[in-house]
Amino acid sequence: MNAPNLHLPDVTRRGFLAGAGALVVSFTIPAEAQEGEVPAAPRAQAAKPKLPGSLADTPSLDAWIRIDANGSITVFTGKAELGQGTKTSLRQIAAEELEVEPAAINLITADTALTPNEGYTAGSQTIQNSGTAIRFASAQVRQILIAKASEKLGAPVEALKAEAGSIAGPNGARAGYGELVSADFLHVDAAADTKLKAPGTYHAIGKPFARVDIPAKVTGGDAYVQDMRPPGMVHARVVRPPTYGAKLVDFADVAVKAMPGVIAVVRDGDFLAVVAEHEFQAVKAMRAMAAAAKWQEQPALPDQSNIPAFLEKSVSEVGTVTSVGAESAPGAKTLQAQFTRAYQMHGSIGPSSAVAMLDNGLTTVWTHTQGVYPDRKAIAQMLGVPEEKVRCIHTEGSGCYGHNGADDAAADAALIAQKLPGKPVRVQWMRDQEHLWEPYGPAMLTRASATLDQNGKIVNWHYDLWSNSHGTRPGSAGSLIAGRLMARHFPPDPARMEITPLGNGDRNAIPFYDVPNQRVNWHFVADMPVRVSSLRGLGAYCNVFSIESFMDELALAANADPVEFRLRHLKDPRARKVIEVAAEKFGWSKDPLPEGRGRGFAFAKYKNHAAWLAIALEAEVDRDNGTIRISHVVCAVDCGEAVALDSIVNQTEGGILQSMSWTLYEAVHFDRTRILSPDWSTYPILRFSAVPDSIEVHVVDNPGAPYLGVAEAAQGPTAGAIANAFRNATGKRIHDLPYTRDRVKAVLGV
């Protein structure tokens, strides 16, 4: 991990440059490469990369791997550890091809001074992109080492093999990796045809390795940016306006300046912050400032009780997500339905935080951003300095599940640090600041209509969705709260509808089922009165909820079993496989359950090009108090070759429980002026009493198959399965998320 202290981990920039030539060259990355939830320009999507994974953008091997004369191996990734076990999985991958133990790999994660630019750690792409790149690079490095060894040992390449950090030849001849390195020997571009090890020969991939980050996390070691305590560090708190657009009309800082421990009171337009020696002094000063600041507020929020109306009237353009076959087709029965989803939060348990220091012209920011490069760009613009004058180092934070307050906290710290050169400034958001200012997952409206033929096959499918963009990440300085609030008032980036294979609001809007005639449209809403951005799964959560709810209605109309009905519309063998495994392990059946209990099933292939996931669960509904209790869940997932099996299970269990919380409880509350969900009592989430009795995750492994993103694959199917279990238990369907007790009671009546 990037040890949270002011000294760089293992490698220094200078040492690194000496070690490996013109590194900087391999760092110039086309903007399109900044994959993540920010949609890349379509043309970039069109052009297929010749090299696998992120090698396409950063081909030079020395950008990924460095071997020192002492034989120590350093692997660089532009991706960050977000609690998904990346640091372990990537070590496993490199160790596999380099023929060493994962523990022998020193891994450097996202740091604009050291690692390749891999855009955002998002969209479940770490293993898919970075993992693939590191796998191929490592394999090629192994071959280079063998070639060098054959010169050194005078043995033919065929007679040599890599093992335990050295190249072994006939009759005990050996050359340690360290003896084989020379300056720049890895400053070569990756070759597309590198051969990888065969699955049968693995010693690291797919083997159970304990996550490297857990021991520190359970023993109080330095693990998070929140844990940084560089010498001379001072504590900052920001004071936010009561509402997004509020203007500071009156603020007397005199009293606050005089408070014990206060070092500085920062005001820049509507941006307010205070810096103190002790953290609690900063907190008290923050409260005093909040009381002293007078703001002017405008009612600018939509009516929470009628979000569909707001979305429909605010459409700025309509885009075609897909259009295949005929506009309509004759059939026996046509069904229609409308679904909605409320604004929902990331709700990280640890509010965002960052440490920044301005040191002779260079601003270094330790941040839990998902994208060090884009964040650096936005911060540099905000500060009015060239990008080289800002360095962003990823340091873990609490789980983020998408674009939370991380980038904004980094910007706060960077801005405050400008006022105190030479001092490391730690910004820690308070709970209400995270809850009120993080960009939420956008509210959505969807409408589906489909026609069944005589044989109960879907012949025609129309699907329309209304949504903001799900990607407002940096971006420019205007994408940062500090950038908007400061006197220069950078304008937010204009929202653009981007329809790409990656998907945004339209992610998973195209049903993965075989339907001859399809029309799918995104009614794009540019206006964002409520701040929104990327929340785990983006549009996939609501789209899959809608599609899977609707599939069950169609199955009923065709009086078919929901599982059989789905299989009926799926040729894809791996899709069929996860569905069959989930159904079989769950013991799916038509046998009636006791009154009030129901079974639900759902399936999706994440983004239609990542992991396949099917889920079955049983729920019990108490019609009198409106509670839905989910008793057990069985899930089957196929994400290609399973690098770290337990990590996949862990993230999938997590996705299921998080989605269960979204689906049953979560909605951001607001009136026409203010957000009314500043904490956990006003924005309740899952607690232990509601956790299911059991969750089984079955991983369908495919050794040798390409890696596919998995971290977000469960969000949509879980919601669909809950919806369908509720329908099965009560005979009624709820079309609106979340499934609150009041909604349940209202729908079921007495």
Partner: protein
């Protein structure tokens, strides 16, 4: 002389026989559990609303378990009584009860099989419920999801465990009969009285009881007890710093909180939670009747409430330092604890219902007894799983006995302008040790507020 004794003997025997005759109740024949179809939907819906007035679910549902399946332990001064299963399960519920049997239970407090019911089931109030309303309640309960669940046996000492004894209790304290309108009062007042005194059984908690557990008629609504909580006086003795008005009481019952009266907690939270089903008109009627019971507040009370309002308007959340807070005094230690532990949430910077109340407004601090203050300080308000609710951490593990006492002394003097509670230390000890039982539940009632005042009508 001998005759006389014979006469007395005969008299005794006659009384015994007479009492026996009074006490003995016939079983009412079991029936086949009725089908849902046999009830009119409108009647079921009416029953649902009535059941929420009766707050049936609070006692007959174990938190987190199936609705109306019973088994909730209700601590009483005499022992623990377990609530019955009132789902239509034929074996363990009331599935085989005829409407007549149900009506008799409500009107007379007698089980279908003839056993007398304990007054923990407030038949002394339910007796006022009209036949039509009982019909609707019956329809509602008989169409619930039947749950097989046998409740544990009551834990009562002899002779209280002999049901026959209850007949004697009834003879002394129970007056059977439906509600009779008071012609001198408005229709709304009468509606309110009917709901409050009957199905609502407010007095069951808000009226003090005598040694035998019967409500003291002379102290009607003068403040009682429920599950370890004081149920504040709803008559002239109300301890609300700002006197309740029809409108503020209406809002409190409707939303489960009111800006000048805080959040319903303890058992009251469930009450306001359930009232969510009730039409505004009925809640308004309840408010009308209760406010009439409180009467006009005394001038000094009004003056003080104006005072409080004024101070709140100017000084949001400042910490008052009472005169007695000279160094070394309990209040001086209390104020420090308050500032360090409580002020963060109770400084009035966050509005009700989710922010901490400003104690100037707290009936709990102004109350004659310390019990509720003790309960909240020790146990806080636990989070309601998956629902909006105010959350307050308990300080039982954080504050020592003396620290709690000092804190209470401070709050009492600084915010209620009253001397410390004399019995605070003793009550605190019993509550901590569990000798005095308190049921701690989330403030469920809030899930409906603040979004939908007047949701239904």
């Amino acid at each position: 002389m001998k005759r006389f004794w014979i006469g007395v003997l005969i008299l005794i025997v006659l009384c015994a026989v007479g009492f026996g005759a009074y006490a003995w109740k016939p079983a009412i024949d079991p029936i086949e559990p009725p089908q849902r179809a046999s009830f009119d939907q409108a009647l079921i819906e009416k029953g649902a609303i009535l059941a929420s007035v009766g707050n049936c679910t609070a006692c007959h549902t174990k938190p987190g378990e199936k609705s109306f399946a019973g088994g909730l332990a209700v601590p009483t001064p005499f022992g623990t009584i377990y609530s019955t299963n009132i789902t239509p399960d034929p074996k363990t519920g009331i599935g085989r009860w005829s409407e007549a049997a149900f009506g008799r239970a409500m009107r007379e407090g007698v089980e279908r099989d003839g056993d007398h019911l304990y007054p923990a089931f407030p038949f002394d109030h339910f007796t006022l419920v009209s036949d039509e309303d009982n019909k609707a309640l019956y329809a509602y309960l008989m169409t619930r999801h039947p749950v097989e669940n046998r409740r544990p046996a009551n834990e009562l000492p002899f002779p209280l465990n002999v049901r026959f004894v209850l007949a004697g209790w009834k003879l002394l304290f129970f007056h059977k009969g439906a509600y009779r309108e008071d012609a001198s009062q408005s229709a709304e007042w009468n509606r309110g009285a009917y709901l409050v005194e009957g199905l609502g059984h407010c007095g069951a908690c808000h009226t003090p009881r005598n040694a035998l557990g019967a409500e003291l008629k002379r102290a009607h609504l003068a403040g009682g007890e429920a599950e370890g909580w004081s149920a504040f006086a709803l008559n002239g003795l109300s301890s609300a710093p700002i006197p309740l008005t029809h409108d503020s009481l209406f809002a409190y019952l409707r939303q489960g909180w009111q800006a000048e009266h805080g959040v319903a907690n303890g058992p009251m939270a469930e009450v306001t939670g359930n009232l969510g089903r009730l039409p505004d008109a009925d809640i308004s009627a309840i408010a009308t009747y209760l406010v009439s019971q409180m009467g006009a507040p005394a001038p000094e009370r009004v003056a003080r409430s104006e005072e409080i309002r004024k101070n709140l308007a100017i000084d949001q959340g400042g910490t008052p330092i009472p005169a007695s807070a000279a160094t070394g005094s309990p209040t001086s230690r209390g104020v420090v604890i308050y500032q360090a532990a409580c002020a963060t949430c109770h400084d009035g910077s966050r509005p009700q219902p989710f922010g901490g109340i400003d104690f100037h407004l707290s009936a709990t601090i102004a109350a004659p007894g310390p019990q509720n203050a003790i309960n909240v300080v020790l146990f806080g308000l636990p989070a309601a799983s998956g629902r909006q609710s105010p959350i307050m951490p308990g300080f039982a593990e954080t504050l020592t006995e003396n620290q709690v006492v000092d804190l209470l002394a401070y709050l009492r003097e600084a915010y209620a302008g009253k001397p410390a509670w004399a019995d605070a230390k003793a009550k605190l000890a019993d509550t901590r040790s569990g000798k005095y039982q308190v049921s701690v539940r989330p403030s469920d009632g809030i899930e409906r507020g603040p979004d939908n005042v007047g949701a239904k009508d």
